[in-house]
């Protein structure tokens, strides 16, 4: 299994797709394939069905949150100081783009190869955090994509049953994001007791008990 050959095979067979190889610096050397959201379903189906690849087993699906980060780099800039041109070192600050990433770890049971990590990135973390669902290709992604929707807030278009899975339905935030803050009163949940208590107090006030 060679990522370069997989990449060129994908480019030859799926017109318009732009897979990129993401290198991994750790000794595990598990490099991954970054694909665009537009062609993700076609690429996934091809990886599953093509005879030399047969990635029929999608083992692990997970989300990663990459918030915007400030990177400062020293850059040499030519500046005119006191009439003469000089090279001055300046610190340039740039912000990395923020996005959510979903990683699918693919294995082939037939050819006994893998893992092939397949990465998809959203455009940003807020308004367009949409990705196509790969559940139609691999059923095993069903609960795991629901979990990513629940904990990271990635919206999977085409998922058969996209609901919260671990948090309760009324919950609003996404706890696995890096900037999530625990509310002070996270154990507080309005229950029927509060209504009942309010009515009881009102009744007591009306009858002059308190």
């Amino acid at each position: 299994m060679n990522l370069e050959t997989i990449k060129s095979e994908l480019e030859a067979n799926i017109p318009g797709c732009r897979p990129e190889i993401v290198l991994n610096g750790s000794p595990s050397a598990q490099n991954s394939l970054l694909v665009d959201a537009e062609h993700a379903v076609a690429i996934a189906s091809y990886l599953r069905d093509a005879s030399g690849l047969r990635f029929d087993f999608c083992s692990n699906v997970t989300g990663i949150d990459w918030p915007s980060k400030e990177i400062s780099a020293k850059v040499k800039v030519k500046k005119v100081i006191d009439g003469t041109e000089q090279e001055v070192e300046e610190v340039q600050k740039t912000m990395t783009p923020a996005y959510l990433e979903v990683v699918y770890h693919l294995f082939s049971q037939e050819l006994k190869q893998g893992p092939l990590p397949l990465r998809l990135r959203t455009q940003d973390r807020d308004s367009s955090a949409n990705l196509p669902s790969l559940t139609p290709v691999w059923r095993s992604a069903e609960f795991q994509e629901r979990e990513i929707f629940d904990l990271f807030g990635v919206i999977f278009d085409g998922h058969p049953d996209l609901r919260r899975i671990l948090m309760w339905d009324g919950f609003v935030d996404h706890p696995m994001r890096r900037d999530y803050v625990n509310p002070d009163d996270y154990e507080y949940e309005p229950t029927a007791h509060d209504d009942v208590l309010q009515r009881a107090n009102q009744h007591l006030r009306e009858v002059g008990g308190r």
Binding site: Q30, S59, S140
Partner: protein, 386 residues
Amino acid sequence: MSTATYLTTPPTLEPTIDGSEDQLLEISMGPQHPSTHGVFRMNVVLDGERVVKLKPVFGYLHRNHEKIAENETYLGSMPYTDRLDYLCSITNNWGYALAVEKLAGIQVPERAEYLRVITGELTRLQNHASLIGFLLQDMGSSGTPLMYAFREREKILDLFEELTGSRMMCNYMRFGGCRVDTPAGWLDRAKKVVQEFPRFLDEYEQLLVGNEILMERTQGVGVLSKELAINAGMSGPMARASGVSYDIRKVDKYSIYDRFSFRVPLGAHGDVYDRYMMRFLEMRESLKILNEAMRTIPEGPIVDPKMRIRGFRPKPGEAYGRIESPKGELGFYLISDGSPNPYRYRVRPPSLINLTVLEDMCLGLNVADVVAILGSIDIVLGEVDR
């Protein structure tokens, strides 16, 4: 006996006698149902006694294990992995240690690998023994089979207690080895337990394997096809009962599993009975590994002497490590950004993913079969909800 006709496609609802759908009954099984082995709920829609829809509801035991681990050092998460699948803490430790060793490129000494195999296979024995006990208990054979299984499990837990100091929360592995070496005489006592184990298996098989009621309740119930099993990510005994020949011990050859001769049992029908028998066959294969490992274990260090525990910071990068836990494929996915804490820590829980096909297996069967099918999947809610 129910046959498996409704397995990959959901059945179309037959019209009721008066043409209305008000004869459907929605019941909530759980969260405190004894067959769920924890807090787990299924919303089941019934037409008479037939299941027409089943939606599992999770999250009662959710504590966001992954977030806690991201705020903790690499080693600090090790005791917490015990609490994932609290029946097999040692294999959880092993999966995590393996992922970190891949991430940081750590070598494990020979004796530690043997100790890992021995304790890991003992964990498989006690997990499978208690699972068949639970399954039979769920199906109504109260008491005796479960207690027979727990009697054997106790012997293994006693070994764990002597070795690690704790019966269930073992916290035994370290990156690059194991935490403690065996106390004097431990291996002999473990050998004795292993040698006596086949007697329990023979006794248990004689007790119930050919039992007519058991066969009637389980054969042809909850059939899972091979294609669906692969596509839905089934792993472990669940997948192998459906005839999927995939054992990570054989495929990845992690640790030193390529040195032992053992076979991978496969089922032919993929029903509850096959999954039940799969556990017996796997225990017999585990015993082969254990006998061989205990005979050939070498002397030596149990942890890589170059490994630094304080200030452990792997290079930036990522790794996915997986092992064959008793429940299936247990994977850990770690991303390091060079700091003492993992940037991302993900557990691939076999129990949660094996539940994906619960609805497919139950549709069209009776509500009493749901209990048997759920029992045969072998879930632990500490791992499902994390």
